[in-house]
């Protein structure tokens, strides 16, 4: 039997331009939408990683952001609102040799899909989750999302949101993601670098990209995002989760958004642990089922 191909062996195989990873359909986003920056960054990182498009699986839920896979040359699934994570988990476990990337919105990921997030992270599913965080529901035309500021007036909350916004980065650090980064979507250089590193990382990588929605979010404009973003100190220790959390908490108090790679550690991935089980029982595709059936003889 051939040894299974490892995901890492898929990288740096081809030399393609970013545009070679662009699928032929026109993007559907509004002019000036931050999501376009995410797409640009994603395409650039794919080019740098050098993965064959057919070995990339791009999965999303529902939202403006979740349209992204249509614009990328790859295998792809456009699933249901909030369910990209578990669908991607299934695809990744089925084919650990493929690069699996989820792209989706703040509502998709942290509102309806919020129940799945902890488990992908703590199980360390070997995939990359790119959150296109515009602090609003774009596709449904402007309601508050879990990352919206309290002052924001959504269409369903005309008097302003009533709750504290959540911080995706803090959540993911708590959940045990093994790679956590953040960037402004307009900063293609940093964003694409984080995506590249995240995809190369063995384990669950989470990248929060602050992506402005000029149509429905008047508060968190590109300008606001840009000026709040502050790159991490050069000496930032990415292996200590407490430090990462403190950085985030401190920045928040000061109204800043820390960007760059916040946290990165290694631990066994879910598919590795699954493969371990198979090895432990001497399992293989042609294992004689009669041996199993015989166990039920009276």
């Amino acid at each position: 039997m051939n040894a299974p191909i490892k995901l890492q062996e898929r990288f740096h195989k081809v030399q393609l331009e970013p545009k070679d990873y662009r699928d032929g359909v026109a993007s559907f986003w509004c002019p000036g939408c931050g999501h376009s920056g995410v797409l640009t960054s994603f395409l650039r990182s794919l080019s740098e990683i050098g993965v064959e498009p057919e070995n990339l699986v791009s999965i999303s839920g529902i939202g403006c952001s979740s349209r992204l896979p249509y614009f990328v040359k790859s295998y792809k699934m456009h699933t249901l609102h909030g369910r990209a994570g578990p669908v991607a988990t299934g695809a990744q476990l089925a084919r650990p040799d493929l690069a699996v990337v989820v792209t989706g919105g703040d509502g998709d990921g942290f509102s309806i899909g919020g129940g799945h997030m902890p488990h992908m992270a703590r199980k360390n599913v070997n995939m990359t989750y790119i959150l296109m965080d515009n602090h609003v529901y774009g596709l449904t035309k402007g309601q508050t999302s879990p990352t919206s500021h309290r002052i924001m007036k959504g269409s369903v909350t005309p008097f302003g949101a009533v709750e504290e916004p959540l911080d995706p980065i803090m959540y993911m650090l708590t959940y045990g993601a093994t790679f956590v980064g953040q960037a402004f979507a307009g900063n293609v250089k940093l964003a694409s670098q984080l995506i590249k590193e995240g995809m190369e990382h063995k384990g669950f990588s989470f990248i929060n990209l602050l992506s402005h929605c000029p149509t429905y979010n008047e508060i968190d404009t590109a300008k606001v995002f840009k000026s709040a973003c502050e790159t991490l100190d050069v000496g930032h220790d990415v292996t200590d989760v407490s430090i990462a959390m403190q950085v985030v908490q401190k920045a928040k108090q000061e109204g800043r958004i820390p960007t760059g790679l916040l946290y990165k550690v290694e631990r066994p991935t879910l598919d590795e642990r699954m493969a371990e089980l198979v090895t432990r029982v001497g399992g293989h595709k042609d294992y004689d089922l009669r041996k199993v059936i015989d166990l039920s003889r009276p």
Binding site: G90, G115, M274, S296
Partner: protein, 574 residues
């Protein structure tokens, strides 16, 4: 009754934890070993620990199709077991009971009573946990349960725990035999002697395990589920054995995650499934629509329990048919199968995978709470005897269009990783390439594609079984484990000269309409017994065929008995 000669039903009852389940299992195994047909029925306490547990074994030299009308022999480990069953003790029945125990039975007239000091003997042997072996020893002598086989089963079972445990249990078993031999047998109940040509190449399995086995035979590669009574054992079985085949099993955070993971794995080219019960199936409604729309195959097993809502989680009911067929927004197709017995649990699970792969849609397999834990003897399933279908995959020629309009409506799939086959699987309405298209005409064409392909499903399955020949005064349509009950009822009715016929569909959606019509054409009246409140299959038969079945519904948490069907048919004939 003549038919039931060589057909004995023993019910063992006691406190959960006293070994009631073991005794039942041992008797079942021993009988199956010698070539008897067995069919068991259990009820579990609602409490986690303790509470009344019951295990009923029916063993026969003839095929048995159900758990029977009632027991012939009751073995009561304690007062609660006696109280629970007292009302069913009828003249002629045998009662074996713990004496001295925690109760003094007031033996009904005509009941053959055999007091056995179960607790006391176990104590004397310094082996209180072996109370059940004392009882089993007594039962074996009193009712001719194959002794040698029982000893083998005891040995096999306890070997792992060391020789001392084996010997301790055997000793208790032997003491039970001696105690019974000292009593005078007054009844004539006895387990039959297997025929010379009895099929001994059998396995004994529960419905839930058999579904797991069927999935393995079908080529299961990915399984994700969330625990739920009474379906959890499907996952437990698969968890044990799937890694041997190199496959992956995941316990997900909830049922929505399970079915989502299943779809992801299926898209990635793997045969994938989940198992659940009603509440979980409700939660999967949205994702099942995605499976249909994106034409991603999946197999969902629903082991039904008493509903609605949390309902009666440990009880038997056949009430998820509405949900299985109609659960999900929009016009949303799927294939729904239902199993009659353990044998079906193996074979129809294979069929479920075959259909999912062929038609690229959700296939829901309905089992039920009593079948889940009923162990039955079935012929040894040779994996090579099953036809296995794999999805049609793109031949790599020309441009790949995931949703190509073909004559059959089935469009070849392609596994990720294949050069040239890149495409999107989407829940949005789309054109042949998968691109979103909301044009009216496109939606009509694509809905027709997805539904038309399902029109041939019935051709891929054997015709629904017709039980009986010629014209009938009463035709009985049944589904699920009710079929086995109807089989026996019709045998009895025919033995009494009634003109009756049975119809036993396993494919419930899309309904094989013509087969229903053909059956109905030969019957004056049609009875449709099912264990739910609303008469769910009857609803679909009325909606989709010209037949007007008369519903006979019960929902008391238990299956029908043959006697109930016999009675109702006779009332109709009267």
């Amino acid at each position: 009754m003549d038919l039931n000669k060589n057909d004995l039903i023993i019910r063992v009852g006691g406190e959960g934890g006293e070994g009631v389940i073991s005794v039942g299992d041992f008797i079942t195994q021993a009988c199956a070993r010698v070539g008897l047909d067995v069919y068991t029925f259990k009820t579990f306490p609602a409490e986690i620990k303790g509470g009344y547990a019951m295990y009923q074994v029916r063993a026969s030299t003839e095929p048995v199709y159900n758990h029977g009308d009632t027991f012939d022999v009751l073995c009561a480990f304690n007062g609660e077991a006696y109280e629970m069953n007292k009302a069913r003790l009828k003249p002629g029945h045998a009662l074996v009971y713990d004496c001295p125990g925690d109760f003094e039975p007031d033996i009904p007239e005509g009941v053959h009573a055999y007091p056995i000091p179960m607790t006391q003997t176990a104590k004397e042997l310094n082996n209180v946990r072996a109370k059940n072996m004392v009882a089993m020893g007594a039962l074996s002598v009193l009712f001719n349960i194959p002794e040698a086989s029982l000893r083998e089963v005891i040995e096999t079972k306890f070997t792992r725990r060391g020789d001392a445990v084996v010997q301790g249990n055997l000793k208790a078993f032997e003491r039970g035999q001696e105690l019974a031999r000292a009593l005078k047998k007054t009844d004539s109940w006895a387990i039959g002697t297997p025929k010379a040509d009895a099929k001994r190449d059998v396995i004994v399995m529960s419905g839930n395990n058999a579904i797991g086995l069927g999935a393995l035979i079908a080529g299961l590669e990915f399984f994700s589920a969330y625990p739920i009574t009474p379906a959890t054992e499907v996952a437990i079985y698969v968890a044990k054995h799937l890694p041997k085949r190199g496959g992956t099993l995941i316990q997900a955070e909830d049922e929505i995650a399970s079915i989502s993971q299943v779809l992801g794995a299926a898209y990635a080219g793997k045969k994938s499934m989940t198992s659940t019960s009603g509440p979980g199936l409700s939660l999967m409604s949205e994702m099942l629509g995605m499976s249909f729309m994106s034409e991603t195959p999946c197999v969902v097993v629903d082991v039904q329990r008493g509903g609605p809502s949390t309902g009666l989680p440990t009880k038997h009911e056949q009430s998820d048919l509405f949900l299985a067929i109609h659960g999900g927004h929009g016009d949303c197709g799927r294939i729904v199968l239902s199993v009659e017995n353990v044998h079906d649990c193996i074979g129809l699970t294979v069929t479920a995978f075959n259909l999912a792969e062929k038609y690229q849609c959700p296939v829901i397999l309905l089992s039920d709470g009593s079948l889940a834990f009923s162990t039955q003897s079935v012929p040894y399933p040779n994996p090579d005897d099953y036809k296995i279908v794999n999805r049609e995959r793109w031949d790599g020629k020309g441009e790949f269009k995931r949703y190509a309009l073909t004559a059959s409506g089935i469009s070849p799939m392609v596994d990720p990783g294949t050069p040239g086959g890149m495409h999107i699987a989407t829940g949005l309405e789309h054109n042949e390439s998968g691109m979103p298209s909301y044009a009216g005409e496109n939606h009509e064409i694509m809905q027709a594609k997805r539904f038309n392909k399902l029109k041939t499903v019935a051709n891929d399955m054997p015709l629904a079984e017709v039980d009986g020949q010629g014209a009938a005064d009463i035709g009985v349509i049944a589904w699920g484990s009710t079929i086995g009950v109807v089989r026996e009822a019709l045998q009895r009715l025919r033995a009494e000269g009634c003109k009756v016929k049975g119809f036993y569909p396993k494919l419930l959606h899309p309904l094989p309409v013509q087969q229903f019509e053909d059956f109905g054409a030969g019957c004056k009246r049609i009875l449709l017994p099912e264990v739910n409140y609303l008469g769910q299959l009857a609803h679909f038969v009325r909606a989709e065929t010209s037949l007007r079945p008369e519903s006979y519904t019960i929902c008391g948490g238990l299956p029908f008995t043959p006697e109930m069907i016999v009675k109702r048919v006779k009332e109709m004939l009267a």
